[in-house]
């Protein structure tokens, strides 16, 4: 199993969720995060002083999936989240050694 961790633009969340549903992914966990990268933040002003907000709001989607659909998952996220403009975000694939569903004690791929 893998944990597919995608950092995307917030307004793409709905589309990513739908793309994942379509390929049969039934669960995911979403975190509001702040991203720092090539996309530069904007300048804000407060009582006359300018300052740069480096961190941009992003959304992190964590999806645990079975080995065989990792490719499809990455693909689904990628095409749903892409705008082609800087700051679209990243996907990281991380190994999961075990997964457990708390409610049923199921483990392994059945749990996710």
């Amino acid at each position: 199993m893998k944990l597919v961790k995608a950092i995307i633009k917030p307004f793409k969340l709905e589309e990513v969720k739908e793309a994942l549903s379509e390929i049969g992914v039934e669960g995911m966990t979403v975190t509001e995060v702040k991203g720092f990268g090539r996309q530069k933040g904007h300048t804000e002003i407060y009582r006359g002083s300018e300052y740069t907000v480096d961190f941009l709001p992003k959304v992190m989607v964590d999806v645990a999936v079975a080995e065989e659909i990792v490719g499809k998952t990455v693909e689904a996220i990628k095409s749903a989240a892409k705008t082609g403009k800087i700051g679209d975000g990243k996907i990281f694939v991380i190994p999961i050694e075990e997964a457990i569903r708390i409610r049923t004690d199921e483990t392994g791929e059945g749990a996710i």
């Binding site: 969340l13 509001e32 804000e44 002003i45 407060y46």
Partner: protein
């Protein structure tokens, strides 16, 4: 009669005719000055109450919209009160109360900087009214900006700041005084049409101006989705919205109560009662209807119901008893719920429900005077339709022209990001993690 003569020195410091000073003093020592003094005080206090309605609008509108547009909404409301008061001093007041005129339109001119000689008596005593010229101005000025504020809520979350500021200024400075002069300025509608405190002149005017603006502007991105699905765009703070409605309710005591234009005990107290009863009936009937129709007791509908009742009673607060007021308010509370659902169905996107509350219930309230308040039903309809139509058409023209010259909408990207960053480079709540902007 009055033992204590108020020191007028400072007021008259710049006035040349010292001999006239005695005359204001004479008046103040005379019999009529007690009622004059009380009435004048009441209108000033009422002006303060109407002023606080602007805070009510600011908090209501920002509560019912998204947190990424909060700075923008607050800024517009701050601008409107500043601009509204100054343009009214510069042009509007004298355009709306022109004295003798053709009954349809009059040019305005600045209020004077001071009065001297005989003018003091003419403008500062019962020769003028039950209040002074300055009182008259400030009370009316506080009303003036309301029309723009109503529009502000309806066009929120997508309009360019600069364009809005221009359109709002044109509307408040030049158009609002025109319809105002028709009735309150002694124009063609002054008789037998009856619109006590402005269900039509202020609220339907604002509501229909907002309607035109929204038609030109279009709905917010994502609101009306393919397949007829409506995606609600949630207001970000129900406490702010509730504060807004309570402050508006409070301010309405001044709005309606002050419109008696003196402190007559019987009439002012009747107006307080009808105003409160209509508001409460509107709130209750909205609760009932939304619970029945939408199946949940909806706070935003309850709040709108109170406002609906208040707008509804504004035209007839002085001409009916409490139970008639309850009927007017309760019907307004039902109307507003269906109006909001209706406008959403026809894809007129009004984030705060301004068109329904002010436009629809403003019309209803004016007509209700023909039913419960002893007015001529025909004239009430003629009046409210004329005013609403004029507001609609003028606003349509203004917003179309501003759109053609400056553009009206922010870019889609800015709309998604929020106008706070886009227009102001500021955030309303920098310490808080705000949810995904969509």
């Amino acid at each position: 009669m009055w033992a204590l003569v108020p020191a007028l020195m400072s007021l008259l410091a710049t006035s040349s005719a010292f001999g006239q000073e005695a005359t204001y003093e004479t008046f103040m020592e005379g019999a009529g000055s007690a009622f004059f003094t009380v009435s004048n005080l009441w209108l000033l206090i009422a002006a303060g109450l109407v002023f606080i309605m602007h805070l009510g609008f600011a908090t209501l509108e920002s509560g019912l919209t998204q947190s990424k547009n909060t700075v923008n909404i607050l800024f517009k409301n701050v601008f409107i009160i500043c601009m509204g008061t100054l343009t009214y001093a510069l042009y509007g007041f004298n355009s709306m109360y022109p004295g003798d005129f053709n009954g349809f339109f009059a040019f305005g001119s600045p209020i004077p900087n001071s009065f001297s000689g005989a003018d003091v008596v003419a403008n500062m005593t019962a020769d003028y009214a039950d209040y002074t010229y300055w009182t008259d101005f400030i009370f009316q000025a506080m009303f003036a900006a309301t029309a723009a504020t109503i529009v502000s809520g309806a066009v929120a979350e997508r309009i360019k700041l600069g364009s809005f500021m221009i359109a709002a200024t044109l509307l408040v400075m030049f158009i609002y005084p025109i319809t105002g002069s028709w009735e309150w300025g002694g124009g063609w509608l002054s008789e037998p049409f009856a619109d006590f405190a402005g269900s039509s002149l202020v609220h339907a005017f604002g509501g229909f101006a907002a309607f035109a603006a929204v038609l030109v502007l279009g709905p917010r991105h994502g609101k009306y989705q393919a397949g007829g699905k409506i995606k609600p765009i949630l207001g970000h703070s129900m406490p702010l919205a509730t504060i807004g409605v309570f402050l508006l309710f409070l301010g309405w005591f001044g709005f309606n109560g002050g419109s008696v234009l003196n402190a007559d005990p019987a009439l002012v107290s009747l107006v307080f009662v009808t105003t409160a009863i209509a508001a409460c009936a509107g709130g209750l009937s909205s609760i009932l209807i939304s619970w029945t129709v939408i199946k949940k007791p909806d706070l935003s509908m309850a709040l709108n119901g109170i406002l609906a009742g208040l707008v509804g009673i504004t035209a007839g607060a002085d001409s009916m008893g409490p139970w008639a007021a309850a009927a007017v308010g309760a019907i307004a509370g039902v109307l507003v719920v269906f109006a909001i659902l209706f406008f959403d169905k026809i894809k007129v996107d009004d984030p705060v429900g301004a068109i329904s509350v002010h436009g629809v219930c403003g019309m209803w309230g004016t007509i209700a005077v023909g039913i419960f308040g002893g007015g001529s039903l025909l004239w009430q309809i003629i009046g409210t339709v004329s005013i609403s139509a004029f507001a609609f058409v003028s606003s349509l023209i203004i917003f179309l022209v501003v759109k053609a010259i400056f553009g009206l909408r922010v870019s889609l990207e800015e709309e998604v990001e929020g106008l706070d960053i886009g227009e102001h480079g500021q955030e309303a709540y920098p310490d808080f993690q705000v949810a995904s902007k969509s």
